[in-house]
Amino acid sequence: MVNTSQENYLEYRGRFKGLMGWLTSTDHKRIGLMYMYAIMFFFIIAALLGLLMRIEKIAPGQTIMDAQTYNGVFTIHGIIMIFIIVIPGLAAVFGNFFLPIMIGAKDVAFPKLNLLSWYIYIAGAIMGILSQFIGGGAPDTGWTFYVPYSAESGTNVMFALLAAFVLGFSSILTGLNFIVTIHRLRAPGMTWFKMPLFPWSLYATAWIQVLATPIIGITLLMVIAERTLNIGFFDPALGGDPLLFQHLFWIYSHPAVYVMILPAMGVVTEIFPTFSQKPVFGYGAIAISSLAIALVGYFVWGHHMFTTGISYWSRWFFSFLTFIVAVPSAIKVFNWISTMYGGSIDLKPPLLYAISFIFLFMIGGFTGLTLGALATNVQTHDTTFVVAHFHYIIFGGMGFAFFAGIHYWFPKIYGRMYSNRLAYIAWGILFVGFNLLYFPLFVIGIQGMPRRYFDYLPQFQTGHVISSIGAFILVAGLVVMFYNLIYYRRKGEIASANPWKGVTLEWQIPSPPPLENFEEIPVIKDKPYTFDNKEEKASTGN
């Protein structure tokens, strides 16, 4: 099946060459990589800002920056990480690159719109960065922009809001593009339930992007109107309702957590079968649970507001639904582990990252239940417990899944192989650093250490010091990992078309893929994840 009659997408020269060739390309693979490079660039900035915060917190009182600077740093750290990195994140990078290939298409449904989405994304990202340097000083509201403070702060909040607003459009358009692509461009024979599970997770994600993002857009515009025209939507001084803002903000931002995590679940769902040489266990359960998470996830936003004074029964219902939405995630974990059970397991770096994903995601998930229970929420809400939980889900979950994905698809993307040895070393450093950095924050959070604190009481210092040490280790791990990937993308051994013996469509074409992916659009006959055509018919429960 492998053929080289077509030029691969990296070498292809269209109307322009070099950088311009990339910037004007509507090829989904190049756009995916352009997202990845932009995301990597911003990730390095935001990670360094995180490191600066950890250095500041190594001792109580002022260490390396003053309180106003600290407030600005955690705000922009959050804005970059959330709006510029993890919301587009996996869907924009691997979704763009692999969704069309995995469903047997030559590109997404609207390639030009796809490129436009990237430019909108870049425009929004640049605005976010600019907000730090122009106007009345770096925004200091936190990425949550809570009113009335955000309506009153003298800093450059407007520009940051506008940046988030613009980034939202990029997200909506990408979601729309993916929905249409999945509906219209599946290869002949690929029914919905023959589609691989990464596309399934992207499908659930895309619906959230399209339906939830407009709400945050409007909300941000309302804050802008409040600041410029003095219209009192939220500020009680103008007759508004400050809790209305929080409702609107979380109606988007809770589902946004699933925009971040669902594609991550999709990525690891691809990795377990390949490295176990065994079909996904519970295909149907995993696909349906993605949809269930997306659906129920719309109705749990109030769990961010348990202590704001919402009514007794609101708290009751939001807490109850929060527990219900945990079940489909648990189902996925059981199915992933069962996918490995009985397999022929090759513990290569992608699988190692995917397994760490499960471990960290379990810790993040259970601490999420601690936050979702009404009694324990009272103690942990707005403490570093939330910070730790969130980073376990987003960095330990989405981040480690991203690392798993890049190690998995690297040979396909670049046609070369990274160093396995360096990949294992980087993993070890990252895993230790990660847990040292975030686990102590659970402990001091329960003891009462609030989040977004420039200064802290002396009893919390031990936890903060351990956490700061972890931050240095984590950064060291990132350096090793980035070095391994960046250096070997040109210098590594030539990779074969299917180094891991995967069975999804991306492994049936050359590495790197040719410009139009498929010489001939494949016709799908088998069930997804068929490793052995003689597979026993008796045990196909799903």
Partner: protein, 309 residues
């Protein structure tokens, strides 16, 4: 095991323990199982993978078991939380004021304190008032936290169990000195508390007594001064217990102003009119004021004795 510093601590801590035990069992159990799987089915030992695709029985099992467990966790959380919203009637009421970036506690009668001093073993309800942006009042040792939102009547309550000092923190980001918005709760013996409160200097505005509020609202003070100056009607100054010559049915007589006289003057102003003032200028306030309100006004006016004021 659960000797928390307040009545609410036990419910919260039990929920923590319940969730953490289940979390621990699952995380450790599944991790060990994963490692076992990795070793047992490593490619070195196991060249050929089994090709099964799932099991409906297992799917049902691991849907139902987590569902039951999370509902139990929810239940524990709810049970621990419910008493936080049921304030006992005899709770002492203190207003906690949050402003950038300090706490102030209003004990009534203009008595303000920057620290929250409380008698031990007495329920206390804090009414949360914000003067600017969102704050959140958090006393970790008592397991209480509620946001202080401008325009909202939020509250929390608890009963402190032990004498001692406890941190009060602000946990809703409120700008530059958010992390300095801290204070202390001092829980003391009841008699020490009474003594402290008695010695606390009144710095704030002393609220008007209800009778005065009614006098202002009803507009009485437009015609009756409280400083002796003559307006349309006689002044209230020194009025209570004073002897006055009144005209009743055209006859002059001397009376001593008491509760009954004040009441009849409100209800039937022209019946016993003070000499020198004209009939028909004051209407009956029977409809505007109910009996309780009239009593409150009389109670207030009873402080206007000839000696005082």
């Amino acid at each position: 095991m659960f000797n928390g510093a307040s009545n609410l601590a036990e419910g919260v801590d039990k929920t923590f323990v319940f969730i953490f035990i289940i979390a621990f069992i699952f995380i450790i159990g599944l991790t060990v199982f994963m490692i076992y799987t990795l070793v047992k089915y490593s490619r070195k030992k196991n060249q050929k993978a089994k090709q099964f695709r799932g099991s409906v029985k297992l799917e049902i099992l691991w849907t139902v078991i987590p569902l039951v467990l999370v509902i139990l966790m929810f239940y524990y959380g709810w049970v621990g939380f419910a008493p936080m919203r049921q304030v006992p009637d005899d709770a002492m009421r203190i207003t906690a004021i949050g402003r950038m970036w300090e706490w102030e506690f209003d004990y009534g009668d203009g008595k303000l304190s920057s620290e929250l001093v409380l008698p031990v073993n007495k329920p206390v309800r804090l009414d949360l008032v914000s003067e600017d942006v969102n704050h959140s009042l958090f006393i970790p040792a008592f397991r209480v936290k509620e946001d202080v939102v401008p325009g909202y009547d939020n509250y929390l309550w608890f009963t402190p169990y032990y004498i001692g000092d406890y941190e009060i923190l602000c946990t809703e980001y409120c700008g530059l000195l958010h992390s300095s918005m801290v204070s202390k709760t001092k829980v003391v013996e009841e008699d020490k508390f009474e003594e402290w409160l008695a010695n606390l200097e009144a710095r704030g505005d002393i609220p008007d007594p209800p009778g005065l509020v009614l006098l202002k609202e009803t507009g009485c003070l437009a015609c009756h001064s409280d400083d002796g100056s003559r307006l349309v009607g006689p002044s209230f100054k020194g009025i209570y217990g004073m002897e006055r010559i009144v005209v009743s049915d055209g006859e002059e007589r001397t009376i001593t102003i008491d509760d009954d006289y004040l009441r009849s003057s409100i209800i039937e102003p022209d019946r016993d009119l003070v000499k020198g003032y004209n009939k028909g200028l004051m209407q009956s306030y029977r409809k505007e004021l109910n009996d309780d309100e009239i009593d409150q006004i009389i109670e207030y006016l009873s402080t206007f004795t000839p000696e005082g004021n």
